[in-house]
């Protein structure tokens, strides 16, 4: 016999699909099948339930580089001590875990004078800066599904990074005012490469890599009816720019989705400023919104929790006893480059794989701990690795979708016996930090 659990939430990407069907064995220990998920989401569930590959107890790195198993109590003691002994510990990650766990982590950071930063630091951080610059006219993915007939994907490739985004929300679904589905929608993709997403586009604006700002401003000018100088703008023929403008203006409801192609290329937050202003300009003619294609399933939630607790969504420096925020200074990358942190704590992210290697080397020099269900490049260079249960698979918790809609992730199977959750581990560290500080 097997059990079927419906409406399961996928804890991988910011699309946070909430329609998965997971089949488990009778005891709720092993996952037998996953329906509705994309290849990545399915792999996450299947891999997590195969305990033979998993580290189930904390490990400490030895002199020779090998790892030795330690108890959770020892790991809690190690973590509390490095944080208490540090003047400015960097506490990074918080994006592949629940908001509840994030909140406990922030309390620890406050007590220890740490820097709290999430994966926006290498992802949509520049978006958040732009939102603070110029605001953001946005909407939910439900509105996109039901209303949008013009979609722009700018510098993102959802066919690979958010595989079900197009079928659930942005291209194919039939909604209340979009009964004809894909037939009713016009798709514009802006990407320097032809991709699996541009293949679905009505217009592909093949922008020259790094020239998004020019193209965005050209579109803004063309929308206002200003003449464009030059025959080719940022690699795109002038006629194609005008064609795109006609398509955008003639829609009833449009949305710009944008990704790393604009946030990480030259121009950074200025690119997003321009994209948001383009959205604003289009509202003179029709209704338009803009949504960031957030990566980690709960990076948005981490920003939300930080936002309501400290007023800033990432790169929050608590080392002076109050919250300071200046990403070009307090962001993880800059802090590591300046060798300013004296300890590192990682949870719910893998900077070892996703930071420039110079910063990774700095992590390996510091007193460190990595909390992660997986073995990752980060866990392999940190002093202590603490395995925890998978949020959204083995423990529930609150998460925020890319459009800032909170969704409660569900537990579908039991974690390996005796394994702690993020929140349990953090709560135990918090208690120990309080004790150490009291003495």
């Amino acid at each position: 016999m097997s059990k079927t659990i419906t409406d399961v939430v996928c804890p991988f990407c910011g699309t946070l699909c909430d329609d998965l069907i997971v089949t488990t064995d009778d005891e709720g220990k092993k996952i037998l099948g996953v329906d509705n998920a994309c290849a990545i989401g399915a792999e996450k569930f299947i891999h997590s339930s195969d305990h033979s590959h998993r580290v189930t107890r904390p490990r400490k790195m030895q002199e020779d580089g090998s790892f030795k198993e330690i108890t959770y109590e020892e790991a809690i003691e190690h973590t509390a001590k490095i944080l208490v002994n540090a003047k400015k510990p960097l506490m990074y990650g918080w994006s592949s875990t629940s908001c509840e766990a994030d909140s406990v982590g922030h309390e620890i950071a406050e007590l220890c004078g740490g820097i709290v930063d999430n994966t926006a630091a290498v992802c949509h951080g520049t978006t958040l800066i732009a939102v603070q610059n110029v605001g953001i006219p946005s909407c939910t993915l439900g509105e996109v599904k039901n209303r949008a007939d013009r979609i722009i994907f700018w510098g993102c490739n959802p066919a690979h990074a958010h595989p079900r985004h197009m079928s659930r929300y942005s291209i194919f679904p039939r909604g209340y005012f979009t009964g004809k589905g894909a037939k009713q929608r016009k798709i514009i993709v802006v990407d320097p490469r032809p991709t699996d997403t541009t293949n679905l586009a009505d217009i592909h604006l093949q922008v020259e890599q790094g020239y998004d700002y020019e193209l965005l401003q050209a579109l803004r000018a063309a929308i206002r009816g200003e003449p464009l100088a030059g025959d080719v703008i940022a690699g795109v023929p002038k006629e194609t720019v005008y064609e795109a403008v006609d398509v955008l203006k003639s829609g009833r409801f449009g949305v710009i989705f944008f990704g790393m192609g604009v946030t990480q290329s030259l121009g950074k937050d200025h690119n997003i400023d321009a994209a948001i202003c383009l959205t604003k300009d289009l509202n003179d003619y029709t209704k338009f919104s803009i949504v960031a294609m957030r990566g980690h399933y709960n990076v948005t939630g981490s920003g939300q929790v930080l936002g309501w607790q400290y007023g800033f969504p990432y790169s929050v420096d608590l080392s002076r006893g109050f919250a300071r925020y200046n990403p070009g200074e307090t962001g993880s990358i800059e802090v590591l480059k300046r060798q300013e942190a004296d300890a590192i704590f990682v949870l719910g992210s893998d900077p070892g794989a996703h930071f420039p290697m110079r910063c990774v080397k700095e992590i390996s020099r510091l007193p460190s701990v990595a909390i992660d269900p997986h073995i990752t490049p980060t866990t392999e260079i940190c002093d202590v690795h603490v395995p925890v249960a998978f949020v959204g698979v083995e423990v529930g918790g609150n998460c925020y979708r890319m459009d800032n809609v909170p969704i409660e992730a569900r537990k579908v199977v039991e974690p390996p016996e005796g394994m702690m959750t993020d929140q349990q581990f953090l709560s135990a560290v918090l208690e120990r930090v309080k004790e150490l500080k009291a003495n």
Partner: protein
């Protein structure tokens, strides 16, 4: 030896996502991300066969990856390494005061390195952090 200078970007691929959930310490992750996607025209310029190992160098570092033909293309003059430690060996740490490294748009040179091995993610990172590199 021949070499070409090319504009490098990085990003997600579905294989990167699947293999990373399958385990970053595993061979599949290396196969999915320890690669550089190049255009036909650039293979010709470099004068190598597809699936040859190459050394990619920038002012920030170098890395050995396998050169494969572009899955999303054509894009002559531009190369793609999926996001991960291999791309991050050569990516730009420059944030221009935004806190965000410049992961896309790094000038790199590519040269054949058929004798050199593509390291696993863990070996790559550990060797760089703990080795004499």
């Amino acid at each position: 030896m021949s070499s070409i200078t090319i504009n490098l970007i990085s990003g997600r691929t579905i294989q990167q996502g699947v293999s990373m959930e399958g385990g970053k310490e595993k061979n599949n992750y290396r196969l999915a991300c320890g690669i550089i996607e190049m255009d036909e025209a650039d293979f010709k310029k470099l004068g190598i066969m597809k699936n040859t190992n190459v050394k990619v160098s920038s002012e920030f570092g170098n890395v050995v990856v396998k050169a494969i033909s572009a899955t999303q293309g054509p894009h002559p003059g531009m190369a793609f390494i999926p996001m991960g430690p291999w791309a991050n060996k050569v990516t730009s740490t420059e944030t221009y005061s935004t806190g965000m490294p410049t992961f896309k748009g790094v000038t790199v040179t590519v040269e054949p390195a058929p004798e050199e091995k593509v390291l696993s993610s863990v070996d790559l990172v550990r060797e760089y952090c703990f080795g004499d590199n």
